[in-house]
Amino acid sequence: MHAVTVTPAPHSPPKSAHQWAVELVGIDKRFGPVHANKDVTLRFAPASIHGLVGENGAGKSTLMSILYGFYHADSGQILVRGREVEIKGSQDAIGLGIGMVHQHFMLVETFTVLENLLLGHEGGPLLAPAVARARREVEELERTFGLEVPLDALVADLPVGVQQRVEILKALYRGADVLILDEPTAVLSPPEVEQLFRILERLRAEGRTVVLITHKLKEIMAITDHVSVLRRGAVVAEFATAATSRQELADAMVGRKANLDVEKAPPQPGPVLLAADGVNVVDARGVTTLKNACLTVRAGEIVGVAGVAGNGQSELLEVLSGMRPFASGRVTIKGTALEPGGTYDPADARRRGVAHVPEDRLKLAVVKEFPAAQSAILGYHEEKGLARKWRLDWKRVTAKTAELMERFDVRPRDPALRTSLFSGGNQQKLVMAREMERDPDILLVGQPTRGVDIGAIAFIHKQLVALRDRGKAILLVSAELDEIMALSDRILVMCDGEIVGELSAAEATEGRIGSMMAGVAETATGSVSGEEQ
């Protein structure tokens, strides 16, 4: 199925007669009982963008970490430009011209961009000459690939999109010819995704090879030349992108007919269950991060909040869930008004029938080190069925978790397994299960499908719609415009701490939301696929 025509870009150096930039042959890897990669054979053509897709836990990151020397394969061969190589560590991989941008950035936040670029590539015991040389070379790279980055800024002060460019630049500065990107778009806003893709196209034009891991099939269709599908550690399908479709890829990923669209009846809104009126939040630095927020959510509707990360959505969720006090304004929950400085907190919120699925799963929703059964009762551990006077009834907790896992299809179904060993999608399903189990009247959800595979996304979306249809009020915050548009009955757009506009589901297009998010009335900022154009 591969289009095996390799035409290196005209200005790239001639690269002998080999056909592939990298070949992985028969790679096998186990983590204890988990068979993460099963006899995987993959080939990446030079001057191309190769997509890698698969469900959570399919083994994509593991495979690429093996290529980058971060893990060791139990067996198998790696060939770089036709030559068999042994990669013992990242140093070897870097030496072979392989670079990787990890799912979680590998940057030293207290360093400047330039210092981050230098790390491991200093070229001598003293920094001063290296800094001067690096500055020259990096500026050259920036020009070649259209990667603009403030070299003397502290990494901690940069937005994620720019941090990611630093990561790409770092790989290029270290001489990467093959660049692996692990879910690079998960944290980016639509315009940032656009910028990233332009950079990747430049890289391809310069004769470099890009391997792109993503859960977003739209992105695969938009930018890759070839795509490989992993399922449960094995390669199950390979396509030339031009010869396949989202549906075909999705089916290959889950191994059955996948349902990509959310089915949803028209909403039947009831009374207002949740309202905010002129709510302001002032953070520790004295900056007003949420400005005069006014909104209502009715029973039986999903209200989506769109916006580039860091524009007040997090604060909104935190206020409504009782995690953060508000400075002024009023929040009304099921008719009860709450004033600033009251006793509203997460426990109180739960008592009032407000459940919260926080944006940051690992930081706020679960304890990574706990077994799943313990993560599955956090916040509800004082409930009658679980606690006996002052101690927990572990038998019941475990039984309860097993039941939740069954109903929400959490895999593996093992309440005793450490939370961190579940894939992101399964952790998320566990959290959703915990919060939905108490049949809340109001559900606050942040980024419900960040880093989650399409199978799990479909499942989570179905659960949210079902909850709505049971007459509950749902406030959904997501950076994923597709998700917002697929689920919401009304859409609020936030920019710079303010709710700048509201659209009905019918009015909303990616272009309109995108330009409202950007805070200007420009047209069609945030479209990746160009589907509506």
Partner: protein, 323 residues
Amino acid sequence: MESYFWLLSLLDSTLRLAAPLLLAALAGFYSERAGVVDIGLEGKMLMAAFAAATTAAFTGSALAGLLAAIGASLAMALLHGFACITHRGNQVVSGVALNIVAMGLTAVLGNAWFEMGGRTPNLPAAARFGEVTLPLAETLRNVPVLGSLYYELISGHNVLVYLALVLVPVTGWIAYRTRFGLRLRAVGENPAAVDTAGISVPALRYQAVLIAGLLCGIAGAYLSTAQGAGFQNNMTAGKGYLALAALILGKWKPVPTLAACLLFAAADALQTRLQGVVMPGIGEVPVQLIEALPYLLTVLLLAGFVGKAIPPKASGRPYVKER
């Protein structure tokens, strides 16, 4: 004029008292900037002080004492590294264990070898680090103000005091101007970034821990063969912890750490001068209260007078390639 000389002598003893603190705090600097918490400064210093005094007593050479001190301290540092880096043990537990071992071992060995209740024999001048008179000190001595400042305060310390002071800019230079420093600071903030850059995290951390061992060795030798003339039971008396506090107060930066060490040392120097002084309205200040001064100061300052001290992000956490 009298108060000028009083002040000079106060500053003079401040420097003497600051030197071991400074050496230990710099040791902590290397270790903690690399992400390895070092509660064991105290134990390493104590062991080193004992090794220095014992060796100097047997050989009559201060230098041999110093080398022995460094050796002993390095051995403890290696043990710490083995527990925390190779086996990813808890860094605080390992440090505390080293402190306890040092306390017990020095007391037992001292008693067994010298039978003086844990003390080592008084060292003759040759077996100690003597005072160095800097060039022209005698000539300038009688020049008013500046001359006496040079003679009293700057000149006339032992060589380890000067070494400690010189190590501050040297450490700053290493940390901020060299490849090693860049990597050292990086591994304390985000070891995964260092690992993916193709640099060995354990090797870097071992280097840092060994440098800490070296500096604690010098600090220990200072206590028993420069400041004192022999070893006494538990002669560090919490200086290791105080050095750690200075490091925190100095926000893990060399020059502010020096300032913190000087502050603690000044409080200590003042303390000896305040004993027996009658305060108006209070009467004679209890000795215990005065002796507690440096520690009270530490508590007060650390309790938030100096703003938030943010430790290296990865400090205290063993590096594991896992989720």
